[in-house]
């Protein structure tokens, strides 16, 4: 009995290699309740995957702060000129 119990638990446990594949699903709330519980149980016992999740969160937050290249004043003037021509063309 005891041996079977251990094997079941082993199957339920996530390997780190699998855990890192679940990060986006986890952050998007797309895991089932079971998967989510297993993922969080893995994190609770694994500092490396906890750090990995933290780095993914930092990456995502940083990407949201990367500004696109700005509009040059000349390009802006060109667009305003185009706007006037479009307006007058009806």
């Amino acid at each position: 009995m005891r041996r079977r119990d251990t094997r079941d638990r082993a199957r339920e446990q996530l390997a780190c290699r699998q855990a890192v594949e679940l990060v986006t699903d986890y952050l998007d709330g797309a895991l089932s309740a079971d998967e989510r519980a297993r993922f969080e149980a893995h994190l609770a016992g694994c500092p490396h995957c906890t750090e990995y999740l933290r780095e993914m969160r930092i990456t995502i937050a940083a990407l949201g702060r990367v500004e696109p290249e700005g509009l040059s004043p000349a390009a802006r003037d060109d667009l305003v000129a185009l706007y006037r021509s479009w307006r007058s063309a009806g």
Partner: protein
């Protein structure tokens, strides 16, 4: 924050200053998004200019059922996709089995052998700083098309998952797979950058 309905009313009335406000807010993000579909900056600029023409012509039809930003993104994506079919970019293909982390960093049982080194508390600011941000943008161009489009929409522009699915005509599951691979690649690249000290 500019109020959508006020801006829309002014655009519909032909207020040039409202158009300038819109251009200041969205030209750069639209250009970045268009660039993920077409081979060159020049084509992306044409696409965005064409988008502005579409906006000027179509603003009277805008009913506010989506946000102005979503509406603009829909126009630019439609135009960029058409232009992208005409002028294909050379891009790496998307591998469906691509792992988030190189497999050699795990042992046979799937545990870390080369775990991620902890990032410093100022890591986010270091990534956003100009030099690293430029490297992020360059690295972004190495991603397969769909990955890059999804990462730009979700993580750079902050669009919600359902909006991205509608814009690209893909399922939520597919969208998450693409996002996951794209993000993971960028994290791996940032890990190498931040590790340089």
């Amino acid at each position: 924050m500019v109020d959508d309905s006020d801006l829309v009313a002014r655009l519909q009335a032909g207020d040039e200053q409202a158009f300038v406000t819109l251009v200041d807010l969205y030209h750069a993000p639209l250009l970045r998004l268009a660039s993920t579909f077409v081979p060159s900056r020049a084509v992306a600029e044409e696409v965005v200019q064409d988008t502005w023409l579409g906006v000027v012509r179509g603003i009277h039809r805008f009913e506010g059922r989506s946000s102005l930003k979503t509406w603009l993104f829909r126009i630019v994506v439609n135009r960029a996709r058409t232009a992208g079919v005409r002028e294909r970019r050379e891009t790496p293909t998307d591998r469906p089995d691509e792992p988030a982390v190189p497999p050699e960093r795990f042992n046979a049982a799937g545990g870390w052998t080369s775990p991620p080194a902890p990032w410093s508390d100022d890591a986010e600011d270091r990534i956003v700083a100009r030099q690293t941000a430029a490297k992020v943008s360059r690295h972004l161009n190495l991603l397969p098309d769909r990955q890059r489009q999804v990462v730009v929409m979700r993580d750079f522009e902050g669009l919600a998952a359902p909006e991205v699915c509608t814009l690209l005509g893909i399922t939520e599951a597919n969208q998450r797979v693409l996002l996951h691979r794209g993000r993971s690649r960028l994290r791996n690249m940032l890990e190498r950058e931040l590790g340089k000290g």
